[in-house]
C-alpha cells in the first residue's frame, strides 16, 4: 500500500499524470473512489479487501478526462475493462497509466495495452467456483422453476439503473432504455418491463462483461443480475473460445463471422 502512495506521488510530481484515480476512505469507514490531483494528497490512497469497485468506470468520463493525463489504481477487473474498452475504441493506447499489483505483491506501472495484456495473463480470469456453482444451480432448474426464480428476482427491480451506471461497459450517452421514440422498454417498473430491461441489458453486455460484479453490488434490492452476463461468458467461452477483456485488439465476437462458428440452433 505504501508503494501505491509512493507511485502515485511520483507520477503527480513528475507531471507524468495529472490525476490518480484510486480508492480512499469515505464517511463511516466506507471505501470509495477518490481523484488525487496533488502529490501531497497521495497519502489518502488505500488498497485493501474493501476496494472492490471497478474504477475503469471513471476513466472516460469527461469530468475526469478534463483533469489531464490519468493514472488509475488498477485491480484485475479494471485492467480487463481497460482492454475491453480499448477493443471498443473508447480509450487510446498510452493514454492511461495503470498502477497494478503483480501476483507477488509488487507495484508496477503499465502504460501500454501490450503491458496490460501481458500482466492480465498472469492471473486467472475465469469465474470463481462459487459463481460457477450458482450458474449450475440455475441451469439445473426446470423451465417453470427457472421462470419463477427470475420473475421473483426481477419483480424486485425498481428501475433505478444503478446497475447500468456502475458498469464500465455501459457508456452509451443515450441508453436504449431511455429512448422514447420509439419506446423499446416500458418505463414503469412492472414485471413485463423489468424482464425486457434485464434481457436487453444482459444482451448488450454479452461478450463484453468482464465479470467484475459491480452491477450486482450496485443493485439496492440485491438482484443477482450479474449471473445473466456470467452465464453468457461461459457460453461464449464454450462455443466460440472467446473471453472479453483479454486483448485490446480482439474483434467483438458477435460481429465477427468465422468459418468454424456453429450454427446448430438455426434450422
Amino acid at each position: 500500500m505504501l508503494e501505491i502512495k509512493q507511485k502515485a506521488r511520483e507520477l503527480l510530481e513528475s507531471g507524468k499524470a495529472q490525476v490518480v484515480i484510486g480508492y480512499g476512505k469515505g464517511p463511516n469507514n466506507t471505501t470509495r473512489a477518490i481523484f488525487v490531483r496533488k502529490p501531497e494528497d497521495a497519502d489518502k490512497l488505500v488498497l485493501d479487501d474493501t476496494c472492490v469497485q471497478n474504477l475503469a468506470l471513471y476513466i472516460y468520463k469527461h469530468e475526469v478526462r478534463h483533469f489531464g493525463k490519468e493514472a488509475v489504481v488498477a485491480t484485475l477487473p479494471v485492467l480487463r475493462s481497460l482492454l475491453q474498452l480499448a477493443s471498443e475504441n473508447q480509450v487510446k493506447d498510452n493514454e492511461i497509466i495503470a498502477i497494478a499489483i503483480t501476483p507477488d505483491n509488487k507495484v508496477v506501472e503499465l502504460d501500454s495495452f501490450a503491458a496490460i495484456e501481458e500482466h492480465v495473463r498472469l492471473f486467472n480470469t475465469g469465474l470463481t467456483e462459487d459463481e460457477k456453482d450458482l450458474l449450475k444451480k440455475i441451469n439445473a432448474m426446470g423451465l417453470e422453476e427457472r421462470w419463477a426464480f427470475w420473475n421473483k428476482e426481477f419483480s424486485k427491480c425498481i428501475k433505478c439503473y444503478a446497475c447500468r451506471q456502475s458498469c464500465p461497459m455501459c457508456y452509451c450517452p443515450r441508453c436504449a432504455a431511455e429512448v422514447n421514440q420509439p419506446q423499446w422498454i416500458p418505463v414503469a417498473a412492472h414485471q413485463h418491463g423489468n424482464i425486457e430491461w434485464h434481457i436487453m441489458r444482459a444482451m448488450h453486455l454479452a461478450g463484453r462483461c468482464i465479470n467484475c460484479g459491480d452491477c450486482a453490488r450496485a443493485c439496492p434490492v440485491d438482484i443477482p443480475l450479474n449471473l445473466l452476463t456470467y452465464n453468457l461468458i461461459e457460453e461464449l467461452n464454450n462455443e466460440f473460445k472467446y473471453t472479453a477483456g483479454l486483448s485490446a485488439s480482439q474483434t467483438y465476437v458477435l460481429s465477427t463471422w468465422k468459418l468454424e462458428d456453429k450454427e446448430t440452433f438455426i434450422r
Partner: protein, 66 residues
C-alpha cells in the same frame, strides 16, 4: 445463439422460439418452418406463464391512458 441462450437462462420456453435463415427464393422452406413452428406451439397450448406477466403491460397502458 447467444440471445437464445440468454432467453433460456432467464426461463423463457425455447420450444416456442425458432431461429431460421430463409432466402427470399426459399418459399417452400419458409412455409415449412412456419407450419412446423405453429404446430409445435399449438401442441404446447397457450403460454400462460408469460401471459400472466404481459397482462401487466396492458394494465399500464390503461393507467396512462394510451
Amino acid at each position: 445463439m447467444v440471445f437464445r441462450h440468454l432467453l433460456g437462462f432467464s426461463g423463457v420456453d425455447l420450444r416456442r422460439i425458432t431461429f431460421s435463415w430463409v432466402s427470399a427464393a426459399e418459399g417452400a422452406k419458409w412455409a415449412d418452418i412456419v407450419n412446423s413452428t405453429s404446430e409445435t406451439i399449438k401442441k404446447l397450448g397457450p403460454y400462460d406463464s408469460y401471459h400472466a406477466v404481459a397482462g401487466l403491460k396492458e394494465k399500464e397502458a390503461e393507467y396512462v391512458g394510451n
